[in-house]
């Protein structure tokens, strides 16, 4: 008995079938108190499914349950609902946000764990009628946020916050739980900028030092190497390997995940740029909470890939969101010489701009519709693409849609059973790929992409970046990439603009010195 009690969690021979497809095949997993255990695998490998089983999610039980055994602290556990999981001391930060936009940050952090106090009614009718003690809830929320070094107002509403903040709110919620023994993080850093991610990793270390066991899923392998003690590698639903951190390398992990070795990061063949400007931005101010642009001046050359980098909260995300009309903006923007009306998404799309937002969940995948229709929908609506016309009538050209979908599925390696599979049944990373496909199909003259490789595994990441370079080379498309991963920007961009305090601090070449980038991001460039 004492031998098994060493483990907080043991999963033995876990298997799961979704609609006849085996997505997990006999997975074993063990984790000790205070251990940080990484789980890696390609998009669709089954990481989230395994965690959903552990957390008793309804999707699992409404699709026939699972096989195998789960032991918590040495005792066999039968986890049928998230409620059961919580009682056992399991917490989870899900891959999708579990936040209520209409609530304040405090209400979200204390969701279903509200502090209450007695009142005359509750003394008679029971604890369910106790009054919420908002003041003390606020204090708890403040404490959890401070723990993560989040300065944000705990009484702000969640709706409209930048995605990075939302992620930290979810983490703050788990930190605030007192009985937690095992904490699951399903790609918590996917929506974070590097500096934010560092914060998070520090928090993970602190938590594990206090004896909490942590399961950590990420596609950024260097994070795995930074915090994990043990690592489990999954491929296509099978267990490939258990490794200790000391005995492995990033390269080996990548190879184990994909089943083959991955080449180096691609490079953008440098070319002399024309002097024509595709986009001229003057004094752009964007009211995006937490990512405000405060007077951006920037020229984008025709046919280039321009990177926009910078630390989180400095306003790099605000620029594209403002130009595309998702947040209120003021200033002057010219697109190929013509003034672009601000605050109108439709107008921007019509003139040949397209945007892949960093907030993939918000911009409307129709979860119950098929992969192919999701890819085609915006193009049909805005551009009348894929339509066959019969005089005044038009009909969606199913063949064209199908052909295009098949092509994209291959190009971006979207792992699905076919173009007809509902998007809801794809893994998180594969849903992201559908988002990318949706923006690309518009064939825009200028494409804004924010965080193009967010939540995507290293193999697919290469594919996505290659696709972007290819679009530029083949179609002469102008592309503006906003990313918090500097390495990614440096591998594909012609020029990189760094944003600091809501303004452009300067423009660098991809092969400029690391130190230059560092200084510029910190706002110290030229102050030497």
């Amino acid at each position: 008995m004492s031998q098994t009690e060493e483990f907080v969690l043991r999963m033995k021979g876990i298997s799961k079938e979704y609609y006849g497809t085996k997505v997990l095949k006999g997975i074993d997993l063990e984790i000790r108190p205070g251990e940080v255990h990484g789980i890696v695998g390609e998009n669709g490998a089954g990481k989230s499914t395994l965690m959903n089983i552990l957390f008793g999610m309804t999707v699992i039980h409404s699709t026939g349950g699972y096989q195998g055994e789960i032991e918590i602290a040495g005792a066999k556990a039968d986890i049928k609902s998230p409620f059961d999981a919580m009682k056992l001391g399991i917490g989870m930060v899900h891959q999708e946000f579990m936040l209520i936009p209409g609530y304040t940050i405090t209400e979200n952090i204390k969701l279903n764990r509200e502090t209450t106090k007695d009142n005359p009614v509750s003394r008679v009718f029971g604890p369910k009628l106790k009054t919420l003690d908002m003041a003390s809830m606020g204090r708890d929320a403040r404490k959890a946020l401070d723990h993560l070094e989040m300065g944000i107002d705990e009484w702000a509403r969640v709706a409209g916050l930048p995605v990075g903040h939302m992620q930290f709110i979810e983490i703050a919620r788990e930190i605030d739980k007192s009985n937690i023994k095992l904490l699951v993080f399903d790609e918590p850093t996917a929506v974070l900028a590097e500096s934010e991610a560092d914060n998070l990793l520090a928090a993970v270390r602190k938590l594990s030092a206090s004896g909490i066991a942590i399961l950590f899923i990420t596609h950024r392998l260097h994070e795995i190497m930074a915090v994990c003690d043990g690592i489990t590698v999954l491929r296509d639903g099978s267990l490939v390997a258990h490794k200790r951190r000391e005995e492995t390398t990033i390269e080996e992990l990548a190879r184990l995940m994909v089943g083959r070795s991955i080449g180096d990061m691609i490079r953008n063949p440098a070319k002399s740029l024309p002097d024509r400007n595709a986009l001229e931005i003057r004094n752009l101010r964007v009211q995006m909470p937490g990512e405000a642009a405060k007077g951006v001046d920037l020229d984008v050359k025709d046919g280039e890939i321009l990177g926009i980098g910078g630390l989180a909260g400095q306003g790099k995300i605000g620029i594209a969101n403002g130009i595309l009309g998702l947040y209120p903006a003021e200033g002057e923007v010219r697109f190929h010489g013509e003034p672009l009306p601000l605050n109108s998404t439709r107008e921007a799309l019509k003139r040949g701009l397209a945007f892949l937002s960093e907030d993939r969940r918000g911009v409307g995948l129709l979860l119950d519709m098929s992969v192919e229709m999701n890819i085609a929908a915006t193009a049909v609506e805005i551009q009348g693409k894929f339509l066959r016309r019969f005089g005044p009538f038009s009909q969606i050209d199913g063949k064209a849609v199908r052909a295009h979908a098949l092509e994209t599925i291959k190009a971006l390696d979207i792992r699905c059973t076919g173009p007809l599979q509902p998007v809801r049944r794809l893994s998180g990373g594969n849903q992201q790929k559908v988002c990318i496909a949706k923006a690309l199909v518009l064939g825009p003259r200028l494409l804004f992409v924010s965080e193009p490789t967010r939540g995507i595994d290293i193999g697919a990441k290469r594919l996505v970046l290659e696709t972007l370079v290819d679009l530029k080379e083949r179609l002469g498309m102008t592309i503006v990439i906003t990313s918090s991963e500097l390495a990614e920007l440096r591998s594909v961009c012609d020029r990189i603009a760094i944003v600091h305090d809501g303004r452009i601090a300067g423009i660098l070449n991809p092969d400029d010195d690391d130190a230059e980038f560092g200084l510029m991001m910190a706002g110290d460039y030229g102050k030497r």
């Binding site: 957390f55 999610m57 309804t58 609902s81 998230p82 409620f83 919580m86 899900h94 579990m98 936040l99 209520i100 936009p101 209409g102 609530y103 304040t104 405090t106 209400e107 969701l111 279903n112 509200e114 209450t116 009614v121 509750s122 604890p127 369910k128 009628l129 106790k130 009054t131 919420l132 908002m134 003041a135 606020g138 009484w155 509403r157 709706a159 409209g160 009211q287 995006m288 909470p289 595309l324 009309g325 998702l326 947040y327 209120p328 998404t345 439709r346 921007a348 799309l349 945007f355 892949l356 937002s357 918000g362 911009v363 409307g364 923006a439």
Partner: protein, 429 residues
């Protein structure tokens, strides 16, 4: 982007005014129609006031009872018809036993409680199986329950259920008469508990409205949750309060015909108590759970809330409140049609809420109160306005039944248009 009101709308006063108009579009449209109708109908103001105060007292409880299921995401549903039947059934028995007055009312409420509770549990269970289709499911459920109700009171009474009562039972000895007179019984049981002159009532209302400001600021400081500023709404509210108080004082000092109008203050006290209860309830753990379930059922479930149970609780509460609401409604009316009175209850309450600016997903006390006044204004003036416009009394009556359905249709249409507009402003990509 979020789908509720654009959180980062245009800045400045112009933006605030515009937002006020888009957000209150439905209400403003009907306010305009109501005022226009009042002018066209040529109705004298005192008559109108007597009528409207009476109707608000009568219907208020039923409309307020709908707020809780909306809170829990059950939508605007017709299940209150079931509650209304429970209330009505007990009234029939009460009348049979000859118990009247305030004690009759209290006993009525006590007896209807377990019946409504059972019906609420059943409805809640059913709705848990018909997610997202609440409005239509309950509508059909209402028809079905109506069939059972008719079976009991039209056929079983006098055959299986022995009942000897000449005023209640049809001359054949089987079935309850189609109209039941509550005079000498429950009529005014609650209303007559306390009646005060209209001007005094206006002063009290004005004081309550104005008094709500300091109370709210205290609550807000403690809750800190709702820190959005609503200067326009606050302004309108303050003016209304001042006007009510001022008008009341003027009419109290200078004796006018208004002083002879006596308002059923007891009933309004009950309404006030219900409002306070709802306010209190939304600040409790159970209330918060209901809101969470209503906002996002999946998130609620993942955070460990037993969503099915919460929804059933919400259903039970609204059914019980509806039963009591119907009792209050009928004691004021004094007579009712055995097989008809409950039928329109759901329709009217929903129409009133919608017109006040509530939607399928959100309803507040303020919206219920505004909606009550507006809806019943429409109700009072529409036949008169119809007659004045078309010179035909019969046509006026058609007008009235047309109004209720029209309002539901029109306000649902306006709501979806509003949502569409907000989405167009907000979404994209």
């Amino acid at each position: 982007m979020s789908h509720d009101a654009n959180p980062h709308g245009t800045a400045g006063t112009k933006g605030a005014v515009r937002r006020f108009f888009t957000n209150n579009l439905v209400t403003l449209v009907f306010l305009f129609i109501g005022i226009a109708g009042l002018r066209v109908s040529g109705l004298a103001l005192p008559f109108f006031i007597v009528d409207i105060v009476d109707r608000v007292a009568r219907n208020g409880f039923l409309v307020l009872a709908l707020i809780i299921p909306v809170l829990a995401g059950l939508g605007l549903n017709f299940a209150i018809v079931l509650g209304a039947m429970a209330g009505q059934a007990t009234i029939i028995f009460m009348t049979h036993w000859g118990i009247g007055g305030i004690w009759g009312i209290l006993l009525c409420m006590a007896i209807s409680f377990p019946i409504a509770l059972a019906l609420g549990v059943l409805t809640g269970r059913l709705l848990n199986k018909a997610r997202g289709k609440e409005m239509i499911t309950t509508l059909i459920l209402g028809f079905f329950a109506n069939g059972i109700y008719q079976l009991v009171f039209l056929i079983l009474v006098g055959t299986l259920i022995p009942m000897k009562n000449e005023t209640l039972v049809l001359s054949s000895g089987v079935g309850i008469r189609t109209t039941i007179d509550l005079t000498d019984g429950l009529k005014f049981g609650l209303d007559d508990l306390l009646r005060i002159p209209l001007p005094l009532f206006a002063i009290l209302c004005g004081a309550a409205v104005l008094g709500s400001f300091p109370v709210r600021s205290v609550l807000r400081k403690r809750a800190l949750a709702a820190r959005e500023k609503t200067p326009l709404r606050d302004g309108v509210l303050a003016l209304t309060g001042l006007f009510l108080a001022g008008w009341g004082i003027k009419n109290l000092v200078v004796e006018s015909m208004y002083s002879f109008i006596r308002v059923p203050a007891g009933t309004f006290l009950v309404l006030g108590a219900l409002c306070l209860f709802i306010l209190f309830f939304t600040r409790t753990k159970l209330g918060q759970d209901m809101r969470t379930v209503g906002q996002d059922r999946h998130v609620a479930e993942v955070s460990g809330i037993d969503t099915d149970r919460i929804r059933i609780t919400a259903m039970v509460m609204s059914t019980v409140l509806a039963a009591w609401g119907q009792i209050i409604f009928l004691q004021n009316l004094g007579t009712f049609s055995t097989y008809g009175s409950h039928e329109q209850v759901g329709m009217f309450a929903i129409a009133a809420l919608l017109i006040g600016g509530a939607s399928v997903a959100k309803a507040t006390i303020g919206q219920a109160v505004v909606g009550l006044f507006l809806f019943h204004t429409m109700f009072i003036v529409s036949p008169l306005a119809g007659r004045a416009l078309f010179g035909d009394a019969q046509l006026g009556e058609y007008f009235r039944s047309f109004v209720a359905y029209g309002i539901i249709g029109l306000s649902l249409a306006l709501h979806s248009w509003k949502k569409h507009m907000q989405q167009k402003q907000g979404a994209g990509g």
